[in-house]
Symmetry: C2
Subunit: 572 residues, 2 copies
């Protein structure tokens, strides 16, 4: 019962299989090698197996290589050895060799590297941050007051080495939960069944809520780990659940794994430090002194979680500093409906429906060395993310629902961006890289519309899945034959889909598995939502009617007819 | 030193931390609970910590929940307990609690699910097969004779349950190598440093070879495991290295993991069966009787590896049967240059350069129940994969090389597909789904050309990375201003890039990380290869000259000029 990774020099036993004789059962005997050198061991073998002194034998590993002094020293605990007359002799009987195949620790520390660093290069760092925000959203979902998520980039060298800190005022973790945080691929679905069961009951899917903003954004049991090791090389989790006066701390780091490997210690063991709140006496390293401040903030908080990532990659630091507005905007985009509530960031709304106002504060601060000023932004303040642009440039909207199978539900909104006087109002991404943008179709209107881009951005449990878009449905696509509505009106719509987690996403939450495929199944049922009421209608007809109305009501083309010549008014 | 996953009912010790007194050091004592019920244990605690009988105390877990009879029984080996005066008391000192955080076994059995089941749905199954072919290519790379990779789909129920079998005549594995096969994320780069070191020397990158066809297609230490558990639920590895007379067998299965979890056994231990060749006496299950035949084939083979996957998902079986021609074609595409050699499948070549002929046979057989006939195909026979179509429809080619940094090398070929008489010869994918195909540009020529699709398919170490394409380079893109060559000629080129593994790919080998980004760096140096000779020239000019020549030499437009009217010849 020893799942050790290395040989134990002090106490070591090996299994010797006596395979010398064709017609004899293979006897296997466990021999304790502790304190024996190779010669001693050979003596013990001779004696144990009653080998006459005039009989020759060889002792090999199961790869049939004879053992010498050095190899003997290197043998691992529990190794199987063969006792043979000669090295090439056929085994009289099959032998069973006990092996251990613990996943390598790169499972934890390198997985994120390939998960996030998709074909998009540096742009993927915000998606690693998103995993930590996902966790904080889940943890704060039962909060009664504000849900505060505080991301601090501590890049002030006078305070110690660079660190990325993510704090939330959520439920925190018991020490058992903190332990299972570190277990790779232990998901909420498997927790119930596993040995960690005393801490968890079977996972219960949350009740349906509008636009699936259910804060239940955990799925695979990998996100947090992949994210922290994509950002840096060491993580300190500091957490306190409401039910206990103690704070729990766990450090997992690449360095620690390498040290354990070197010393042939168990790779997947560690220590949780349980301590009173505010106690930072264990922080003794000079370059970690920023931790004292963080730990002092614990006072008075009933529960919280702090993730401290150090060993941050240099290129990440550069990116986070230089492209601050870019990646914070991307986060504001991902969590648009969590931050702004059900109706999103409608800056024109004269009334603010209090039902829809969000209690989620996601605050980001970047601290550099004096005299550089700190930069701070609350994601709610960002008003140039694409959803904000779409919402505020829309004149009208069309809501619908799609049912796939029995449990897959999708809510959808289409928005109309009219032509006004002399230009399209369809919003353009001010930061789009030219490479991504498609060539404009020459036959279409001359300023910006959606053109051939997909209509829908897609949100999963309320959170944007950034690399999946849905182009269109047959009922809202430009018809082959010219119809009642001018073709260009079809390029004036943007859209959003909100799915629940019956639709699967990839482990890195960057793409849906097969959302479009499922939605385009012939069994998918569409209904229209009008004034909050669901209506079973012909969606195709409804849409066409809506689009026609939009065109007539909102598009305003000014044409100067009957040009007569230029006159100059002398009277002004 | 016990990295166990469960409690051991027979022998169990717990660590009791005496946290009763504010100003006293926390004493921690390991107590053996074996054979003690809860009351006995309380007695032992009282005695050990000298607690006066009139003093009350509570015993809690580190989550501060008091322990009762049931919880006591459930305590795991090595658990930490607190001895307190009351449950809310502040810890006088920090305690260290030993934890184990072994990755969950879903790491092995579910990872592939999300890796391959990308946004493409069912179409990803061939890419799981590809991981096993990758491994077989690596294993056979030192073969002197033929390299044979045999994929058999045993779907004949009269022979047992459905099985997918991949056999190769490569180097096989020693039992230690078979052990490390099972270690998730143990890559060739980490092997050298790890505890498995006695079997491996530090990884040596192979010398550069033309088009990077180096058969060195292992990278992450995950491919085989992800693939087999994406295909099915159980894997039997059967292998024999040349240096040993023994065959090694290892079974890893979902069922086995679940059983070990239930019985609280170590999750990551198992047994390798070492046996003589051809010995199938251990196969006793009726539904595995197809194994007898496979094991009988071992006779006389110096070394080999057989991967047997069972518990194959039903939808996979359906797909493999129904779309046989589709997925075999996709494999022929992935390995085109391994199967056909350096110059690819040029069916028009009058001579066959013996240097370029491949010794790799990838044979696929699908066996169903009589009277269904078996289907067999050697990937080399497939002549409708896109590379074959491109090669055979090309009239001319332009070879080049790109240097990125010091070690990234890319070889490239552009091919010209001329306009002939009345139509374009640019090959169309006969199986392309309409959804993927872009709308044809109305301004371009009226039959099929590349249109806006990317020019380059990309091969990594000679193997196609299917989801990454490179659109173009500035020197071969259609210039903004009309130039010496008609615009439509730019749509008549297809291309291939061959990279070495200095360019990173994602773990599932479906996408490059940032190939395009790197290639488009301003430091990238392009040279032209002409008649096998590298030339440092202005690539832009060379390309233009080549394209012009292609147009003049190969494009043949027939125009009927001076139409006079229809006449009827009465003399025939
Ligand atoms: N900020 C937090 N507060 C409380 N608990 C947390 C927090 N972050 C993580 N956890 C706990 O740790 C577990 C593991 O987190 P992790 O992000 O690694 O995986 P996951 O969220 O379960 O799944 P996914 O792979 O989808 O992210 C979570 O399920 C949750 O129970
Ligand atoms: N058919 C085979 N013959 C011999 N050895 C093999 C074979 N298949 C796998 N192996 C060994 O097992 C190891 C693990 O294989 P696996 O495919 O899981 O990972 P990998 O090939 O190392 O990396 P990647 O994730 O890129 O596939 C290989 O590195 C190789 O040493
Ligand atoms: Mg998570
Ligand atoms: Mg592999």
């Amino acid at each position: 019962k020893n799942e050790a990774n290395g040989s134990n020099k002090i106490r070591r036993s090996v299994v010797v299989h006596d395979c010398r004789f064709e017609n004899q059962e293979v006897k296997q005997i466990v021999l304790d090698t502790s304190g024996l050198d190779f010669n001693d061991f050979l003596q013990v073998v001779s004696k144990t197996f009653h080998i006459p002194s005039n009989e020759t034998f060889v002792l090999t590993c199961t790869d049939r290589k004879g053992i010498d002094f050095d190899q003997y020293e290197e043998l691992q605990e529990g190794s199987s050895l063969y006792l043979l007359r000669n090295e090439d002799q056929v085994l009289p009987q099959a032998t069973l060799e006990r092996i251990i195949f613990l996943p390598h620790y790169d499972t934890l520390i390198r997985s994120g590297m390939y998960e996030y660093y998709a074909s998009e290069g540096q742009k993927s760092l915000p998606y690693a941050f998103a995993e930590l925000i996902d966790n904080a959203l889940s943890a704060t979902s039962s909060n009664t007051g504000m849900r505060t998520i505080d991301i601090r980039l501590l890049f002030d060298e006078s305070m110690g080495k660079p660190a990325v800190v993510i704090m939330d005022n959520g439920c925190g973790m018991t020490s058992k939960q903190l332990n299972s945080w570190a277990v790779y691929r232990l998901s909420k679905f498997t927790k119930g069944k596993s040995t960690f069961s005393n801490d968890y009951t079977q996972y219960v899917r949350p009740d349906p809520v509008p636009r699936s903003l259910n804060s239940d954004i955990s799925f695979f049991g990998v996100g947090g780990k992949q994210a922290v090791f994509y950002i840096g090389q060491s993580t300190r989790m500091i957490t306190k659940p409401a039910c206990s006066p103690d704070v729990h701390e766990l450090v997992i780091s690449k360095e620690e794994f390498e040290r354990k490997e070197q010393n042939k210690e168990d790779i997947y063991t560690g220590f949780i430090r349980n301590r009173k709140t505010g106690d930072s006496t264990h922080v003794t390293e000079e370059d970690e002194r920023f931790l004292h401040g963080i730990i002092q903030e614990e006072a008075g908080k009933p529960s919280f979680t702090v993730v401290v990532v150090t060993g941050v990659q240099l290129e990440h630091i550069t990116f986070l500093k230089q492209d601050f507005h870019l990646w914070t905007r991307e986060l504001a985009h991902l969590y648009h409906y969590y931050i702004h509530g059900l109706n999103g960031n409608d800056m024109r709304a004269s009334y603010r429906n209090s039902d829809c106002v969000s209690n989620i504060d996601i605050q980001i601060s970047l601290l550099e060395k004096f005299p550089k000023m700190p930069r701070m932004v609350n994601l709610r303040e960002i008003d140039n993310d694409m959803q904000t642009l779409y919402i505020n440039a829309s004149a009208d909207s069309f809501e619908f629902k799609a049912y796939v199978d029995t449990e897959g539900t999708v809510e959808g909104i289409l928005r109309y961006h009219p032509f006004l006087y002399d230009k399209e109002t369809y919003p353009e991404d001010p930061f789009a890289t030219p490479a991504v943008e498609e060539e404009e179709d020459d036959c279409a209107v001359h300023n910006h519309t959606r053109a051939k881009r997909p209509i829908f951005e897609c949100f999963w449990n309320g959170r944007l899945i950034p690399y999946t878009t849905v182009s269109e449905f047959d009922w809202c696509a430009l018809p082959k034959k010219a119809g009642a509505v001018p073709a260009e009106c079809y390029s004036r719509i943007s859209g959003v889909l909100f799915t629940n987690d019956r639709f699967q996403v990839s482990t890195n939450k960057l793409t849906f598995m097969d959302l479009e495929l499922q939605l385009k199944s012939k069994d998918t049922l569409f209904t229209r939502i009008l004034n909050g009421q669901e209506q079973r209608v012909k969606i195709h007809k409804e849409f066409l009617q809506w689009l026609k109305t939009c065109h007539e009501k909102w598009d305003k083309q000014v044409k100067f007819k009957g040009f007569k010549g230029t006159i100059t008014r002398m009277d002004v």
